[in-house]
C-alpha cells in the first residue's frame, strides 16, 4: 500500500460489553492497520461506548478499516470524519524551579493552565487540536519538562 497515506480520524460506536475493545484492536493488528491513538469512554445514558481512533492509510485502506469495523457484531456505527472538531489534552510536569509565569502564559495560549503546584513540581494542562498540542510540546522543551502525557484525540463531526 504505497498510495498516499493520510492521517484519519474514525469514531466507532460500540455496545459497551466485555472484550469489545480487544475485538477492535485485534482487527487492527490482524489486518496490519495502524493505530496512532485510541480513546474510549461510555456514552452517557446508553448501552454504548464511543471510541475515537486516529489512524493513517490510503483511501482504500481507510475504506477497508471502516468496513471491517462494521463487520464486528458489537459495532453499531462507524464514522470516518471529514469535517470535525478535534481536541486532545496533554498534561506536563515541570520542575518548580522553572519560570512559572512563562509556562502559565504559554498554557493559556493553548487553551490550558497550571492545574497543580507541589513542593517540587508543577503540572500544566492544555486541551487543543492535536497539531497545536504537538506545537506546545515542542515549545515547552526549553522549560525541562519531566513528564508528558497525551490523552489521544477525541472528535465530533461539525
Amino acid at each position: 500500500m504505497t498510495e498516499n497515506s493520510e492521517r484519519r480520524v474514525v469514531s466507532v460506536i460500540v455496545v459497551n460489553e466485555s472484550s469489545v475493545l480487544s475485538r477492535i484492536t485485534d482487527l487492527f493488528s490482524a489486518r496490519g492497520y495502524n493505530i496512532t491513538s485510541l480513546t474510549v469512554a461510555p456514552i452517557p445514558e446508553s448501552r454504548y461506548s464511543r471510541l475515537t481512533i486516529v489512524t493513517s492509510g490510503s483511501i482504500r485502506v481507510i475504506e477497508q478499516i471502516t468496513k471491517q469495523l462494521h463487520k464486528l457484531i458489537p459495532v453499531y456505527r462507524v464514522y470516518e470524519h471529514a469535517d470535525l472538531v478535534e481536541k486532545e489534552m496533554a498534561l506536563v510536569k515541570f520542575p518548580v524551579s522553572e519560570n512559572i509565569t512563562d509556562i502559565s502564559t504559554l498554557c493559556e495560549a493553548y487553551n490550558g493552565k497550571i492545574v497543580n503546584v507541589g513542593d517540587n513540581v508543577i503540572i500544566a494542562m492544555v486541551a487543543d487540536e492535536p497539531k497545536r498540542v504537538d506545537n506546545f510540546l515542542k515549545i515547552i522543551q526549553r522549560y525541562n519538562p519531566k513528564e508528558i502525557v497525551r490523552s489521544g484525540a477525541v472528535a465530533l463531526e461539525r
Binding site: 460500540v14 455496545v15 466485555s18 472484550s19 480487544s22 475485538r23 485485534d26 490482524a30 482504500r60 475504506e63 477497508q64 468496513k67 471491517q68 462494521h70 463487520k71 457484531i73 458489537p74 459495532v75 453499531y76
Partner: protein
C-alpha cells in the same frame, strides 16, 4: 422453565432443529455431556480428535446447508479445535462450536486445562461469547445460531464455564433477538442493479465470475437461470464448483492458479467481469494489476468488506446473491444473448487450443485418470470431499460436478486433514449419497484416527489415496522453483495403508491398474464400510496449467506434448 445451563444447551439445540452434533467430552464440558446422555432428540458422533469434530461439522454444514455443531472441552480440547474454526472462518461455513471452560471462580488462575479460549478464537470466528451466567444462555445460543447462518455465514464460538452449566435459571427460547448492531443487508439496491444490467447489455465480452457465495446463498438455480438466459459465458472459482453442471455449454471452467487456459484467457480478455459471491482471492487473480485489466467490474456480495477490497468495483451491489440475481432475472430481457456469439466462439477456440488434459504416458496410473474414472462411474451419485494438495486441484479440474454442495473442500485455509472427517460429516448429512474423499499420502495421515469414528458410527467414507510417495504440491513447487531440491517432501517411508484400514475394522485395497481400481471401487461400495483405496500413481505428475504465484493469469505453464518431461 427453570433448568440448569447444561440442560439449556440441549434444549437450545433441539429448538434449533439440530439432528447431529460432533464432539469429544472432557472435564469442563461434562455437565453438558451428562445431559446428552439423557436425551434422544439428536445424535452425537464421537470423533477421535477435536479438530476432526469441527471438520466433520463443516462437512455436515456444507452438504446440508444447515448450521454444523461441534462440542469440545476446555484447554487442549479447544486448542485442537482452532484449526477447524479458522477453516470455517476462511470458507464462510456456518458453525456453532460450544466449548467448556473452567469454572468462573478459577478463570485467570492458570487452572488445569484453562486457556483464554475467546481470546484465541476472536480472530478466527465471526463472533464469540464467554457466557458468565446461565440466564444469558438462551439469548446467546439463539444469537449464535442466527449469526452463524445469516449474512456472510461463519463459525460462532460459545465458551461456557463449568459452573454456568450447573447454574439454574429461566429458559425461554422464544426471546426475540435484539441485535441492533447486526443487520445483514439482503436486498440489493435497485438502482445499482439497473445500472449493472445496463452495463451488461452494453458489454461485448462479459464474463460471469462465480464464487462460493452462490452456494452459501443457495442461489445455484437462480444463477444457472441467469447464465442461460443471458448467454454469457461463466468461469467458476474453486469454491463455486458444481454451481453450473460440467456439461453446461456456457461453463468455461475453473479459473485461477490451476484454472483452465480458456478460463484464465477469458478473464484476461473480458470487458466486463460479473462477480457473484467471489472475493478476488490471490489464488484466483494472480497479479492484481494485470487481472481483467481492461474490464469493468460488477461485484455482488453480501459482505461489503469484500467489495473493492482488492479490485475496484465499478458497480458494487451489497446483497444476498439469491435476492440480487432474482432481481436481475426480472430485467434480463434487456440483454440479447446473440450479441455474445463471437465472444463465445473466441472462448471455445481457447479451449480447443489448450484443453484441460493429461497424458497417459507412464507405467503407473495417472491421478487425473482415477478422478475422471470415479466421475464416469459415480457422477452425481457421489458427494466429493478432498484433502489439500495436488489431488485437490486435480479433483477440482477433472471431476464432472453437476450440482451445488457436491464438492466439499478446504479452500481458503487449505487444511490438510480436512477431507476425511469432512467426508464423514457429509455422509451423516446425506446418507443416500456415496461419500468419496480424494486424498493424498500426506494429507490422509493428518486425521487418520477418524477410521475409528467411521467404523463405530457406520460412516462408510471411501478414501481414495492418490499415492505418489510425495508431499506432491510442495514437491511440484520445489521441482519448478527450487531447482528440484526436494526438501523433506519424499514420503517413501509409509504405513501399509491396507493393514491400517483393516486394523480399525475398515477395508483396504491396494491398486496399481485400471482394472484393479474399478474392482476395488465396486467392492468398496458394496461393502458399505469405511475404506482406503490406495492407488499407486505417477510420482512426478504436476498440476497444470499453472500460474506461478504472483504471475499474470495469461502467463500459464501449460502441459507439454506427450512424452515431454
Amino acid at each position: 422453565m427453570q433448568i440448569n445451563g447444561a440442560q439449556m444447551v440441549i434444549e437450545a439445540l433441539i429448538e434449533e432443529g439440530v439432528e447431529t452434533i460432533f464432539g469429544y467430552p472432557g472435564g469442563a464440558i461434562m455437565n453438558v455431556y451428562d445431559e446428552i446422555y439423557k436425551q434422544d432428540k439428536f445424535h452425537h458422533i464421537l470423533t477421535r480428535h477435536e479438530q476432526a469434530a469441527v471438520h466433520a461439522a463443516e462437512g455436515y454444514a456444507k452438504a446440508s446447508g444447515k448450521v454444523g455443531v461441534a462440542m469440545i472441552t476446555s484447554g487442549p480440547g479447544f486448542t485442537n479445535a482452532v484449526t477447524g474454526l479458522a477453516d470455517a472462518y476462511m470458507d464462510s461455513i456456518p458453525l456453532v462450536v460450544i466449548s467448556g471452560q473452567v469454572p468462573m471462580s478459577l478463570i485467570g488462575t492458570d487452572a488445569f486445562q484453562e486457556i483464554d479460549a475467546v481470546g484465541i478464537s476472536r480472530s478466527c470466528t465471526k463472533h464469540n461469547y464467554l457466557v458468565t451466567r446461565a440466564a444469558d444462555l438462551p439469548r446467546v445460543l439463539k444469537e449464535a445460531f442466527y449469526i452463524a447462518a445469516s449474512g456472510r455465514p461463519g463459525p460462532v464460538h460459545v465458551d461456557i464455564p463449568k459452573d454456568v452449566t450447573a447454574e439454574i435459571a429461566e429458559f425461554d427460547y422464544s426471546v426475540e433477538l435484539d441485535l441492533e448492531t447486526y443487520k445483514p443487508h439482503i436486498k440489493g439496491n435497485p438502482r445499482q442493479i439497473k445500472k449493472a444490467i445496463e452495463a451488461i447489455s452494453n458489454a461485448r465480452r462479459p464474463l460471469f465470475y462465480l464464487g462460493g457465495g452462490i452456494i452459501n446463498s443457495n442461489a445455484a438455480d437462480e444463477v444457472r437461470d441467469l447464465v442461460s438466459k443471458t448467454g454469457i459465458p461463466a468461469v467458476e472459482t474453486f469454491m463455486a464448483r458444481g454451481t453450473l453442471s460440467h456439461d453446461n455449454k456456457l461453463l468455461v471452467g475453473m479459473l485461477g492458479m490451476h484454472g483452465s487456459y480458456a478460463s484464465n484467457m477469458a478473464m484476461s480478455e473480458t470487458d466486463l467481469v460479473i462477480a457473484l459471491g467471489a472475493r478476488f482471492d490471490d489464488r484466483v487473480t494472480g497479479k492484481l494489476s494485470e487481472f481483467a485489466k481492461n474490464a469493468g467490474v460488477i461485484h455482488v456480495d453480501i459482505d461489503p468488506a469484500s467489495i473493492s477490497k482488492l479490485v475496484n468495483a465499478d458497480y458494487p451491489i451489497v446483497g444476498d446473491i439469491k435476492s440480487v440475481v432474482k432481481d436481475m432475472l426480472e430485467q434480463v430481457g434487456r440483454i440479447d444473448p446473440k450479441k455474445y456469439i463471437q465472444w463465445r466462439e473466441t472462448i471455445s477456440k481457447f479451449n480447443e487450443l489448450h484443453p484441460l488434459m493429461y497424458h497417459e504416458d507412464s507405467d503407473r496410473l495417472k491421478p487425473q485418470w482415477v478422478i475422471e474414472r470415479v466421475g464416469e462411474l459415480l457422477g452425481d451419485s457421489a458427494n466429493i470431499s478432498t484433502d489439500v494438495g495436488q489431488h485437490q486441484m486435480w479433483t477440482a479440474q477433472f471431476y464432472p460436478f453437476s450440482r451445488a454442495r457436491q464438492f466439499i473442500s478446504s479452500g481458503g485455509l487449505g487444511t490438510m486433514g480436512f477431507g476425511f472427517p469432512a467426508a464423514m460429516g457429509v455422509k451423516a448429512a446425506s446418507p443416500e449419497k456415496i461419500s468419496i474423499n480424494f486424498t493424498g499420502d500426506g494429507s490422509i495421515l493428518m486425521n487418520v484416527q477418524e477410521l475409528m469414528t467411521a467404523v463405530e458410527k457406520k460412516l462408510p467414507v471411501i478414501n481414495i489415496i492418490l499415492n505418489n510417495n510425495y508431499l506432491g504440491m510442495v514437491r511440484q513447487w520445489q521441482t519448478l522453483f527450487y531447482d528440484k531440491r526436494h526438501s523433506e517432501t519424499d514420503l517413501s517411508v509409509q504405513p501399509d495403508f491396507v493393514k491400517l484400514a483393516e486394523a480399525f475394522g475398515g477395508a483396504g485395497y491396494r491398486v496399481k491398474t485400471k482394472e484393479e481400481f474399478d474392482a476395488a471401487l465396486k467392492d468398496a461400495i458394496k461393502k458399505d464400510v469405511v475404506t482406503f483405496i490406495e492407488v499407486s500413481v505417477e510420482r512426478l505428475e504436476n498440476v497444470l496449467p499453472m500460474v506461478p504465484a504472483g504471475g499474470s493469469l495469461f502467463n500459464m505453464m501449460l502441459l507439454g506434448k506427450k512424452g515431454d518431461k
